[in-house]
């Protein structure tokens, strides 16, 4: 747009600099409008919860809400633990532990699905790894699937007593969230 024949570069520079400045300003304005949809400070403040385990008898399970999702907490019987331990790892669909509390490359043994010293407690996010339904198996009357653990009614995924996927379309074991024992009968999730 050089209209001044004597000094075209100055005008060109002003136009390019002005447009570049406006473009950077407009682009940086997009960020807040994207970021506003991410979890807000209120949602992040709910990132951890404490759960009292003392009322849960052997063979019983409870479901608690964490970050808007159900968390299955099961006090497993010795038979259930035994059944899970007996499974050879090469029979598993997903051989990774999927446990936030052990190394990322740990294998899906029954020990690696729990915390050391608390092997009877199984704590998992109760969301099917297929498409996000909540598997059955928490109450006594629920269908527990072919492996005695959990069964997702949406598309027929079967989980065993360690929450590992054994049959059906789900690709991964149920996820074990970050948690720790803050006392013998209390855990903190998140």
């Amino acid at each position: 747009m050089a209209t001044d024949v004597e000094d075209p570069q100055r005008r060109d520079f002003l136009i390019i600099a002005g447009n570049a400045f406006a473009a950077v300003g407009a682009a940086s304005l997009i960020w807040p409008f994207v970021q506003q949809m991410n979890p807000d400070a209120g949602a992040k403040a709910l990132a951890s919860i404490e759960v009292d385990l003392s009322p849960i008898q052997q063979g019983q399970a409870i479901t608690v809400m964490w970050r808007g999702k159900p968390v299955f907490i099961r006090n497993r019987t010795p038979e259930e633990i035994e059944a899970a331990k007996k499974v050879p790892l090469n029979e598993l669909v997903d051989e990774a532990a999927r446990n936030e509390n052990v190394e990322a490359d740990a294998r899906a043994t029954d020990e690696n699905r729990t915390l050391k010293g608390h092997e009877n407690w199984l704590v998992m996010v109760g969301v099917c790894t297929h498409l996000g339904c909540i598997p059955k198996g928490q109450t006594l009357s629920d269908a527990k699937g072919d492996y005695g653990g959990w069964f997702c009614p949406c598309h027929g995924s079967h989980y065993d007593t360690a929450g590992r996927i054994r049959k059906g379309p789900a690709p991964r074991n149920l996820e074990v969230p970050t948690y720790e024992f803050v006392s013998d009968t209390k855990i903190k999730i998140g």
């Binding site: 506003q36 807000d40 400070a41």
Partner: protein
């Protein structure tokens, strides 16, 4: 000016294929790129573009806020506080929207007074002007309902007072006003039910405005733009192509406007609002001094200046409705006040009256404030009903230039002033 020949040339094979099927790029090119604009437009002609920008900005920020807002009497106030404190950049987006409403009105008032000064309402632009009045009216309704949404004390009592305006219809037909007010409220008082429907309409009306704006721009492009001389475009040398000439001027003044906008958003976000709106709505206690947002103050002053319930309401709505008749109330053959030595002074008196009414609207309705509100209310209407028709007939306008080109370049119009863009019309 709409009949100017299309100069759009599709550059690629795809553009050509597309152009034969849906010539939208041609429409855009002919309407906003190669559109001939009068060569003498001053900065006041950039406010149409600024207003379009503000409308789009209000819609975008409004859609974002609606993602986080809860339109219920229990949660509305807290959800707005949640937006300000917890939502990522929520404080900023909320301020954009709240300050944006004020900026919208600043721009629209400049735009309206520009039209009044330069006679932009006169033939052949009457429909264009009336569409503008309709946009203004819907804008006011939208802003009013938006102000209700934070559900603070001013929101609640503003809604109560303004919806109660309709109860004055009881004076015409007993029971009519009450029935209308209860219909508006969805109950026997302003409640969360009222808030819910206001939210719904506040989301709808901006899109109505958008539709009206499209008609407004269409009507503008049929008649062509007015200009500071008020003369019609006669030859090609009276115009320059919109891009880059008018467009770069639009952007310059939009940036100036945005600097002011950003200043309020980041440094004075609550300056244009009222502190009482940070107290949650309480249906049992009215704040001691109720005032509307600043942009409604002149009309509020007119409402209170009339010592009769129905009369006040009628006067307030008449103050807006009278704008519709301006094209026929003004009897002058000359558009621009630049060439109207007598009317010019009345114009500024009118502008002063509007500012004065705004000031008086913010003051309590007592004593000397009421007296002056009545004086200026009288002049507000007298300007349209007496000054416009009579001055137009009696006044002798100044000598008009023969053309826009002559007004810019002087008689003869041949010599290019030093430093001016060389032959912008050569294209």
């Amino acid at each position: 000016m709409a009949q100017h020949e299309s100069t759009y040339v599709p550059k690629s094979a795809i553009a050509k294929w597309w152009d034969q099927r849906l010539p939208i790029m041609r429409l855009m090119h002919d309407s906003f790129v190669d559109y001939p604009t009068p060569r003498n437009l001053n900065f006041l002609w950039t406010f149409g573009g600024i207003l379009t920008f503000v409308l789009v900005a209000q819609i975008v920020t409004g859609i974002v806020l609606a993602m986080h807002y809860q339109p219920s009497a229990e949660d509305a106030f807290n959800s707005v506080e949640n937006i300000r404190r917890n939502v990522n950049y929520g404080y900023m987006i909320r301020n954009f929207h709240a300050v944006g409403a004020s900026m919208f009105f600043i721009a629209v008032y400049i735009h309206i007074f520009r039209g009044l000064y330069y006679g932009s309402y006169k033939a052949p632009r009457e429909i264009l002007w009336i569409l503008g009045v309709l946009i203004f009216l819907v804008m006011m309704a939208t802003a009013f309902m938006g102000y209700a949404l934070p559900w603070g004390q001013m929101s609640f009592w503003g809604v109560t007072v303004i919806t109660n305006l309709f109860s004055s219809l009881d004076g015409i037909f007993p029971g009519l006003g009450t029935a209308i007010v209860e219909w508006l409220w969805g109950g026997y008082a302003v409640t969360g039910v009222t808030l819910n429907r206001f939210f719904s309409l506040h989301y709808l009306l901006p899109f109505v405005i958008l539709g009206l704006v499209i008609l407004h721009v269409w009507a503008l492009h049929v008649a062509g733009q007015n200009n500071p001389t008020g003369l019609d475009v006669k030859t090609k040398s009276d115009t320059v192509p919109m891009s880059p000439y008018a467009i770069s001027k639009d952007f310059l003044w939009m940036f100036v406007f945005l600097i002011m906008f950003a200043w309020f958003v980041f440094f004075l976000p609550d300056y244009l609002g009222h502190a009482d709106n940070y107290i949650e709505a309480n249906p049992l206690v009215t704040p001691p001094h109720i005032v509307p947002e600043w942009y409604f103050l002149p009309f509020y002053a007119i409402l209170r200046a009339i010592p009769d319930k129905l009369g006040g309401v009628v006067a307030m709505f008449a103050a807006i409705a009278i704008l519709v008749f301006v094209p026929w109330l003004d009897t002058s053959r000359v558009r621009s006040s630049k060439y109207r030595p007598i009317y010019k002074w009345f114009f500024w008196l009118f502008a002063f009256s509007c500012l004065a009414l705004g000031y008086l609207g913010s003051k309590p309705a007592e004593g000397v404030y009421v007296f002056w509100a009545r004086i200026f209310t009288f002049y507000y209407f007298a300007h349209f009903l007496i000054v416009m028709p009579i001055v137009g007939i009696l006044e002798t306008p100044k000598k008009l230039p023969r053309s826009i080109t002559e007004a810019v370049l002087g008689e003869g119009g041949a010599a290019t002033p030093k430093g001016a863009a060389a032959a912008p019309e050569r294209r």
